[in-house]
């Protein structure tokens, strides 16, 4: 293990900021639940009513976890944050681990290290140490934030300890996956599949009799029953799983060749299908996975919003905070809630739109555009195909969200007309969504290095939506968000003017970006 500590120091230096951001984000996830629940309900009776409503909502239970003590702040924090907390801490561990193991091996840097006076298992050992430290940090920060909130100390600490232990399980999983897969992508895919399975198993278990939840590390974490009869023994299951996967990784590592994996990539077609002859076909082929994934995600999110049906009044409570949050348009609370839900769906769809709009930059930066544009394909035609896909994909993703919302509402309330109503109400949001993808396009054309700044545009819109009215931000600032102008259907009647103006702005941004791209150098590393 010579060199392990040297590597640990090196990794810590490389990763400290990244880990700190993850830790802050995850802590905020837990702490903000406590804050928002505390502010939402003015009386315990109101809280009890909302809790009773949430407990019986299958979609919520499937998404979050077993409903326990939901009429307490601690119970709410546990319920709302643990499943997502476990996934995020898993993602952090996965990125940390794969970055130092399989990714290094692929670039060959690791070979240099191993050729230097570094023990054979030193990278694995150092990666393990750093990932565990990161998980401990996350756990400690979460525990500390809840203890000081203040919530019951033992239960708060249990949430932190359990979280770190789940992180350790996914650290071990990622270490093993990095040994089994033969590329970073394969390692990410394997770890992601395990995390997905852990989430789905506990979702099915929690909705049913709970048996399947015991097959999932996330289920074990939630099985600690923080704030509802705390018990510590499930931590042992987590630690055992972490140890088992880590030992597995060490054993596989010792038995395989450098650069090789245990699982080989499945071969693909040796000839291109008809799709791969046009730039549109290529764009679809490259992005279809993400279009389908985002659409499914938005459909399910819409479904779970919609499944609240007419009961949202109880859920929201009657405090000023909830009125600020959900009744920006005034009017009936149900309509106001769904108008806001539609805005949320649109912001999520914007995630797809921006990620799709910055893809051309990634292809350019990674040198793939160069070969493409050295063929008979012109710049304009290539970029136009990308734009078409972003627009069509955004419409699809947003539409899926609206459809989910309508179907969820119709299933719960029996009002089948809601499907069409909510679907149609969602569509105009395409205009502000495309304003942000247009912004990405403009950046791509004019200052390509900064294309990713389009994410800041989305972040800004989210902040304005969530906190603008709450903190009474100046109107001109709120007006900068493209999501601040449309009529809030169904709480308000639809108005054409803002929709058309936003659509024109989106088109203008995109066209300007395309024109600028025609005039600039294609950048290559």
């Amino acid at each position: 293990m010579t060199g392990t500590w040297l590597l640990v120091r090196h990794y810590v230096r490389r990763d400290r900021w990244m880990v700190l951001w993850w830790a802050l984000g995850i802590t905020l996830l837990y702490w903000s639940q406590a804050v928002s629940v505390k502010g939402l309900y003015t009386t315990q009776a109101e809280f009890d009513r909302a809790a009773a409503m949430m407990e019986t909502n299958t979609a919520f239970v499937a998404m979050a976890g077993p409903a326990r003590a939901l009429n307490t702040i601690g119970g709410q924090v546990t319920w709302q944050a643990t499943a997502f907390g476990a996934i995020t801490v898993g993602l952090m561990s996965m990125f940390l681990v794969v970055r130092h193991t399989r990714a290094e091996e692929e670039t060959g840097r690791d070979e240099l290290l191993r050729a230097a006076a570094v023990g054979r298992q030193a990278t694995t050992a150092a990666t393990l140490v750093v990932a565990l430290l990161a998980n401990l940090l996350v756990g400690a920060m979460v525990a500390l934030s809840l203890v000081t909130f203040p919530l019951a100390a033992a239960d708060s600490i249990a949430l932190g300890v359990g979280l770190a232990a789940v992180g350790a399980v996914f650290t071990g999983t990622a270490l093993l996956a990095a040994q089994l897969g033969s590329s970073p992508r394969a390692a990410y895919g394997l770890t992601g599949a395990v995390m997905g399975a852990a989430y789905v198993l506990r979702a099915i278990g929690d909705v049913g009799d709970g048996t399947l939840s015991w097959l999932s590390p996330i289920g074990w974490y939630q099985g600690m029953h923080a704030f509802s009869g705390l018990r510590w023994w499930p931590v042992l299951l987590l630690l055992a799983a972490a140890a088992a996967t880590t030992v597995g990784a060490v054993l596989v590592f010792a038995r395989r060749d450098f650069g090789a994996g245990v699982l080989v990539d499945r071969p693909g077609p040796d000839r291109a299908g008809g799709l791969l002859g046009t730039p549109e076909g290529l764009a679809w082929r490259l992005q279809r996975g993400s279009v389908i994934g985002w659409s499914a995600g938005l459909f399910l999110t819409g479904l779970s919003y919609g499944s609240l049906g007419d009961d949202v009044g109880d859920l929201m409570g009657d405090s000023e905070m909830s009125r600020d949050l959900f009744a920006q348009a005034g009017g009936a609370l149900v309509d106001a809630f769904y108008a806001t839900a539609i805005l949320m769906l649109a912001l999520l769809a914007c995630g797809y739109a921006v990620s799709s709009a910055i893809r051309p930059r990634r292809d350019e930066d990674e040198g793939r555009v160069e070969v493409l544009l050295a063929t008979g394909l012109s710049r304009q035609r290539w970029l136009l195909a990308q734009v078409l896909l972003t627009v069509a994909g955004s419409a699809l993703v947003l539409g899926a969200g609206g459809l989910g919302l309508g179907i969820g509402f119709a299933l719960t309330s029996g009002d089948s007309g809601a499907v069409g109503r909510y679907f149609v109400a969602t569509l105009p949001l395409l205009a502000p969504v495309l304003v942000l993808s247009g912004l990405a396009r403009l950046l791509f054309g004019v200052v390509p290095r900064w294309t990713s700044l389009a994410w800041a545009g989305l972040l800004f819109a989210v902040v304005i939506l969530l906190f603008g009215p709450l903190f009474k931000m100046p109107e001109w600032l709120q007006d900068l968000s493209p999501f601040h102008h449309l009529a809030l259907v169904p709480a308000e009647p639809f108005r054409w003017a803002p929709f058309l103006v936003l659509g024109a702005i989106a088109a203008a941004l995109s066209v300007a970006g395309q024109a600028a791209f025609r005039r600039r150098d294609v950048e290559v590393r």
Binding site: E370, V371, G376
Partner: protein, 308 residues
């Protein structure tokens, strides 16, 4: 040779800056029809930049550039149907297979010769069913090479195309370029390895700091080359010092190390042979050595802009 009106590549006074870096600084280059033209220069001398200007990926700051009789910036797509390009560092889409990429690039260029495609896949020993993310650098390069060589084009632009290939595949590549030339094709082949260019090229241009410093046939340039020889012989080799063209001779017992003008190599080997060669290595000069010898100063990666 005078620039023919119809020469596939004609560059005069080409200047290209990146911020304060003068990547190209008054470059002149003519590639005549039917020749394989070696484009030599150390790393950072501007080879890739030239080729990217020729492809219309970069816009020239000054100077005139004609490609296949057209303007590469304005008529890029039309001109590109008549040429194929292989970059030095090919990057592929992680989830498309090599075969798919070959077809994609071929179709976008206006069609592939099916028979030739199959033959090239075989000759380069490429597995076209693997995903882009699993290919090594050399294999990614093979994908681009097959796509380029299987297209029916007049001009090949090759930017250090063999940098990731093993020697065996390098040889296959050389055969393919030879065949391409026999069918009347023109190629511009950039490289920073002199030996590779010597194998293939009819004429060579040498680039230094964004300017063309030598152009000529290989024999014209041969006077520039010296070979480094190290040998161990059974008896101490006598008389090396007095041979013409031998420089920097160091003899330690039965070991000798020296440099020799390539034209005198045969005579020198005769002397070594007479002493009974046990082990021997002969290394052609690297470009950097060559530049250092002939231009007397260090080779900068690119000339900084100065105030003048």
């Amino acid at each position: 040779m005078l620039a023919d009106v119809s020469a596939p590549i004609e560059i005069a006074g080409l200047v290209k800056h990146f911020g304060t870096v003068h990547a190209l600084d008054g470059l002149d280059l003519t590639v005549a029809e039917g020749e394989v033209h070696g484009y030599l220069g150390p790393n950072g001398s501007g080879k890739s930049t030239t080729i990217r200007v020729l492809l219309g990926l970069l816009r020239a700051d000054e100077g005139s550039v004609r490609l296949l009789g057209g303007d590469p910036w304005r008529e890029a797509a039309d001109l590109h149907r008549r040429l194929a390009y292989v970059p030095g560092d090919v990057s592929l889409w992680p989830n498309l297979t090599g075969g798919e990429v070959i077809d994609l690039l071929g179709r976008l260029r206006g069609g592939l010769d099916e028979r030739r495609r199959a033959e090239l896949v075989e000759r380069f020993e490429l597995d076209p069913t693997k995903k882009g993310r699993t290919y090594s650098k050399g294999n990614r390069q093979k994908v681009a090479l097959v796509a380029a060589l299987a297209s029916d084009v007049e001009l090949l632009l090759l930017d250090e195309p063999t940098s990731g290939l093993d020697p065996l595949m390098g040889e296959v590549f050389e055969q393919c370029v030879d065949e391409f030339r026999e069918q009347g094709g023109t190629a511009l082949l950039s490289s920073h390895v002199l030996a590779e260019v010597e194998q293939l090229c009819d004429r060579v241009s040498i680039l230094r700091s964004g300017r063309c410093v030598e152009t000529g046939t290989l024999s014209e340039l041969r006077h520039l080359t010296r070979t480094t020889v190290r040998a161990e012989t059974e008896r101490p080799p006598g008389g090396l010092a007095s041979l013409p063209g031998v420089h920097d001779l160091v003899v330690e017992g039965r070991r000798a190390a020296f440099e020799v003008d390539t034209a005198e190599l045969d005579t020198v080997l005769g002397v070594l042979h007479a002493a009974g060669i046990r082990t021997m290595s002969a290394t052609p000069p690297t470009l950097e050595e060559l530049f250092l010898r002939h231009y007397g100063d260090a080779v900068p990666t690119a000339a900084p802009v100065d105030a003048s």
